[in-house]
């Protein structure tokens, strides 16, 4: 009788400890702002085979494993396509400068960003042909995870992120993405509070007063693909701005009321959500909630970001945008209702 009581007490203590220790990975504060470091387009090496004169951007839509498979197929086609640029032959894949992705497409984008040609060796077995949903479901039946999920700081999305981190992305962080150089991979999620797009780049993390370099890529992919209700949001802490922070060049005078219908005003409103430190945390879910084809990040770069700067500087001669949309319906059905 006494032994049973001791065992029960020990078990309860263990469960309490598990609950107490379970916490999601928190993004780290950035103390000193540096516009020349971190995961942003301008800090990435173009690589030996990439020319700026031909600038290629890909957009990978959402659509679960179907979207991941379609974008994988497109990457394979780009690998096999040889073109002539500035008098030399090169693969079209080597000319890709940026990839913007949402949800299922983010798995392919992040995997290529991290592991490059390995995508064509093992992405199918590691992700496309694997029952990831089954593995996630199975982890919910593990009693160890029951105790962790009882914590208010650990949700189903954190279990998913752990699985992606260990089984797909080899615990890689954004520093590794940065070291690999171009293409610049923009993993898009949706900020539930503001109902706006959020991408995992240092520009966004600057506004959060945070560092992206040591943040796990798997958590960004998890946020990008966090389907509502099935999964819970990924949370990021909004810290005070780093010392020396300066807003992007287009932000100055952008919030002029008479310009309220312009895209620049809208972009400035989006940034101001994170500059408002009353918003202590942001909660992210599937990027498809705000843009299911991943086009907005590229359009923003075209309007006022790294693409616009290079067009005005005369370095981009030809701009190629490829939309990989895994949508199954060929046209909108609204007019037929």
């Amino acid at each position: 009788m006494k032994n049973n009581a001791v065992r029960t007490f020990a078990l309860m203590l263990l469960v309490s400890l598990l609950i107490g220790c379970s916490h999601y990975t928190v993004n780290e504060q950035n103390r000193k702002f540096d516009s020349l470091s971190g995961y942003r387009f301008d800090t990435l090496s173009p690589g030996p085979k990439n020319s700026d004169s031909l600038f290629v951007c890909l957009m990978f839509s959402g659509g679960g494993t179907r979207a991941a498979a379609l974008s994988y197929g497109i990457m394979d086609a780009l690998r096999k396509k040889v073109i002539r640029v500035n008098g030399r032959e090169t693969r079209l894949l080597d000319e890709v400068d940026c990839i913007s992705s949402v949800s299922g497409g983010s798995f392919t984008a992040a995997y290529y960003g991290l592991f490059r040609e390995q995508l064509f060796d093992d992405f199918r077995t590691k992700f496309l042909e694997r029952d990831i949903e089954g593995a996630l479901f199975g982890s919910l039946f593990n009693p160890y995870n029951w105790a962790r999920l009882a914590s208010s700081y650990f949700g189903r999305i954190d279990l998913a992120a752990e699985l992606y981190d260990s089984d797909i992305f080899d615990a890689a962080n954004f520093e590794q993405l940065q070291k690999n150089g171009r293409p610049f991979v923009m993993l898009n999620a949706t900020n539930l509070g503001a109902d706006r797009r959020f991408d995992f780049t240092q520009d966004y993390f600057d506004a959060l007063g945070s560092r992206l370099d040591n943040y796990p890529v798997a958590r960004a992919v998890a946020a990008s693909s966090a389907f509502p209700y099935l999964l819970t949001p990924i949370s990021l802490k909004n810290y005070p701005l780093a010392q020396g922070y300066t807003a992007p060049w287009w932000y100055k005078n952008a919030l002029t009321p008479k310009n309220w219908i312009t895209d620049r005003f809208d972009a400035a409103k989006n940034l101001s959500v994170y500059l408002d430190k009353e918003n202590s945390y942001i909660h992210l879910m599937d990027g498809g909630l705000s843009d299911n084809i991943g086009a907005r990040a590229i359009l923003d770069a075209f309007d006022r970001g790294f693409i616009r700067t290079r067009i005005n500087q005369g370095t981009i001669k030809q701009l190629v945008l490829i939309v990989v949309n895994a949508r199954t319906q060929s046209e909108d059905q609204l007019t037929h209702v």
Partner: protein, 74 residues
Amino acid sequence: MAKEYLVVSFPRTRRVLINGQFSGTTNIILELEDGQYEVTLGPPKNFTPEKYDIDLHGTSSMNPMIVEFKVLKL
């Protein structure tokens, strides 16, 4: 997506700063979103005026806004 067009005129080729960001060079058409900007040139500081505050809208590629800097005579 709507674009506005700006030419920063100067007797020499010089880098153009829009809101403090290098954004192209003088004497070519620059594409920007509409709105207010501060326009100046990169170093050396041998030009006048020091800067322009512009409100860019209603332009076209055939009819861009033109702001003119002159060489400062010392």
